[in-house]
């Protein structure tokens, strides 16, 4: 197990390495929890009703209707994992590593253990416990499952540090849709979530990854996501955050390594109450005819701080990228800091960005009041409209479902 030794060694060295971005979280303030702290359940409906309701808000349906499979992690325990689709393997990562000897080659490859202290923590948890928390999802070659796999990361205990290591593999010419919902129990005021997700998309395959976050107000969230895309592959990432949280810092990065790979990142982040959101999307275009589009919409209100980042890097000729970042600042105590970055390392490539941050246009408010809306109703309609995303690239059912998730999140605002 030389690989594991190296990972542990690298992680150990990076234990105190602050992340390049975001506020620094003192890991020692959080406790680790045993991977068996919660019992495995046979049926998602065995989860208590209150929690069911909470996770439904982030798109995880305990009835599993129109789902290809479900996975639930509570704190550190993987309590449920079940696929009903012949096309999709879904299980705890540890179980998967026992089953597939080749899987270890995918571990800590797209995301390195020594990126920062959070990835290091995740790796160290794995080596200390000799166990893995997180899911493994794999769509078999040539299969197209239209229903999504749902995965839920739930924090149930106070002050806990949750780590999850997820591996997603879409085999050649397959299609895989994932919904990840993250939430916290009502009574949790403080916790830390570290999620490492490595996504591998083989030639001709397509993955959509839709993530809804609904954390408690004092939760620190540090997802670390990287995607490897081979030729003719497609990756679509939808991210939705509309509730307060202490801080989130994330910068999912896709590497378009094969010709004609395409990536689309769409994110909406909006909220109130002293949250610090540092969200970015990055596409590294390493092969000819690859393309990427990054679209983000942010609304800041009531001491909300959003850093909205985007980075497109073209390293060979004939690649294309567009970055679009729009923000609305609704009060004087909030701020949006938009950082669009374009990097061209070859001639003959096309990259552009468009960023606009400002307040709600009064003309729009007046127009709507002239149709009988109050100013508050008008503002709310404008904000909702601003945050509404065109859902592209998803199967109809999932598009409608995602729209529902967005609407539900916005209703809660």
């Amino acid at each position: 197990m030389l690989v594991v030794q190296n990972v542990t060694h690298d992680a150990e060295k990076a234990k105190d390495k602050k992340a390049a971005l975001g506020t620094d979280v003192v890991i020692e303030n959080f406790t680790t929890e045993d991977i068996n702290a919660f019992d495995v359940i046979d049926d998602l409906k065995d989860i208590d009703k209150k929690t069911q309701k909470t996770i439904l808000k982030v798109g995880v349906d305990a009835n599993s209707e129109e789902r290809a499979g479900s996975f639930v992690q509570m704190d550190q325990s993987n309590i449920f994992s079940h696929s009903i689709s012949d096309s999709i393997e879904l299980m705890n990562l540890g179980v998967a590593l026992d089953k597939h000897s080749w899987l270890k080659d995918y571990l800590w490859k797209a995301v390195k253990p020594d990126v920062d202290k959070y990835t290091a923590q995740c790796a160290l948890q794995e080596s200390e416990n000799d166990a893995y928390s997180g899911y493994f999802v794999r769509s078999l070659p040539g299969t197209k499952e239209i229903f999504p796999v749902q995965a839920c990361m739930f924090i149930a205990d106070q002050d806990v540090m949750q780590t999850a290591h997820n591996i997603v593999i879409a085999e050649e010419n397959s299609e895989l849709h994932l919904i990840t919902g993250c939430a916290t129990g009502d009574d949790i005021s403080s916790a830390l979530h570290v999620g490492v997700s490595e996504i591998y998309i083989k030639p001709g395959a397509k993955v959509t990854f839709t993530m809804v976050h609904n954390w408690a107000e004092q939760v620190e969230v540090r997802p670390r996501t990287a995607i490897y895309q081979e030729k003719n592959s497609t990756y679509i990432n939808n991210y939705i955050l509309t509730s307060p949280v202490k801080s989130i810092q994330s910068y999912p990065t896709t590497y378009c390594n094969g010709e004609n790979a395409r990536a689309l990142f769409q994110s909406i982040q909006s909220g109130i109450n002293d949250s610090i959101i540092d969200m970015g999307s990055r596409a590294i275009l390493n092969a000819p005819n690859t393309s990427a589009e990054i679209i983000s919409r942010s609304v800041a209100n009531d001491n909300y701080r959003i850093y909205s980042r985007g980075h497109l890097s073209g390293n060979v000729p004939n690649v294309k990228g567009h970055l679009e970042c729009h923000g609305l600042v609704l009060d004087d105590n909030s701020s949006i800091y938009a950082v669009p970055e374009l990097e061209a390392n070859a001639a003959n490539l096309e990259m552009s960005h468009e960023a606009a941050v400002g307040q709600i246009d009064e003309e729009e408010i007046y127009y709507l009041t002239s149709r009988g809306l109050t100013e508050e109703e008008a503002a709310s309609m404008i904000v909702r409209g601003f945050l509404s995303m065109d859902i592209t690239g998803l199967p109809d059912e999932l598009a409608a479902e995602t729209q529902k998730m967005i609407d539900m999140s916005l209703d809660g605002m």
Partner: protein
């Protein structure tokens, strides 16, 4: 009297635009407001509508006998005022359908009611069009038709039309005029007309299809003259607004 404007003096960002405007419109009447660019026609509209930027320094606005000078736009609209804008703003993510549902007091989660679907079709809007962001990338004619469609959903008692025919091709002017007549109760017998309106027009072309009862010329922030629409338009066509200058001076 449905709408009464009395000695209205209005300032916009500290600059006086209306200088004592008087206007009275009865139930069932349609009036036309004429005047050169910058005379204050749109200002009068938006003041009647109650947009915050238009500050009433003196005078009052009565609707159905009630003083509405200090009401918000929303309150005025709820009482039965409506307006079609010349250049309304585009709003991202807010569809024509969303607005039509609100305006016809419908549950947003329900399908658009059959009456509005019918009217949309009549105004040459496809189902897909209704899902477009309101006014976003609309042609001049589409803007005007969407404004009229929204007013039909709203059903105001008193409607102000700001150049409803500008940018509309000739074949569609007649179509629009037909719906304007509905909004103005022109499809009813004179004795049964309750709704009323005020129309801004530059060319007066729409008046071939919408019969106005009275015309007013607004010059330098006052009503320079009022009278028979045909006669006044005839004068303006011949001499421009030059002839109105003298009258405006007398009236100010």
């Amino acid at each position: 009297m449905l709408l009464e404007v009395k000695d209205l003096v209005v300032e916009v960002e500290g600059k006086r635009v209306l200088n004592g405007v008087n206007l009275a419109i009865r139930e069932g009447e349609t009036h036309v407001l004429l005047g050169p660019n910058g005379a204050g026609k749109s200002t009068l509209f938006l003041t009647i509508l109650g947009f915050p930027k238009y500050e009433v320094v003196e005078g009052s606005i009565l609707f159905n006998g009630e003083d509405i000078t200090n009401l918000t736009t929303t309150e005025r609209v709820q009482k039965g005022l409506g307006v079609s804008f010349q250049n309304p703003p585009a709003i991202r993510g807010v569809s024509v359908r969303d607005l039509l549902k609100f305006e016809s007091k419908q549950d947003p989660d329900e399908e658009l009611n059959p009456r509005m679907q019918e009217l949309a079709k009549k105004l040459k809007f496809s189902d897909e069009f209704l899902d477009r962001d309101v006014n976003r990338g609309f042609s001049g004619g589409e803007v005007k038709r969407s404004e009229i469609l929204q007013l039909l959903a709203q059903g105001p008692l008193f409607t102000m039309f700001d150049e409803p025919d500008s940018g509309v091709d000739i074949e569609n002017v007649e179509l629009l005029a037909g719906e304007l007549n509905v909004l103005l109760d022109k499809d009813k017998k004179p004795g049964q007309r309750r709704k009323a309106g005020l129309l801004i027009t530059h060319l007066g072309y729409i008046l071939n299809f919408v019969k106005a009862d009275k015309a007013h010329v607004l010059m330098h922030g006052v009503i320079a003259c009022s009278g028979d629409p045909d006669e006044i338009l005839e004068d303006i066509r011949k001499e421009g607004f030059k002839g109105c200058v003298g009258c405006a001076e007398c009236n100010s």
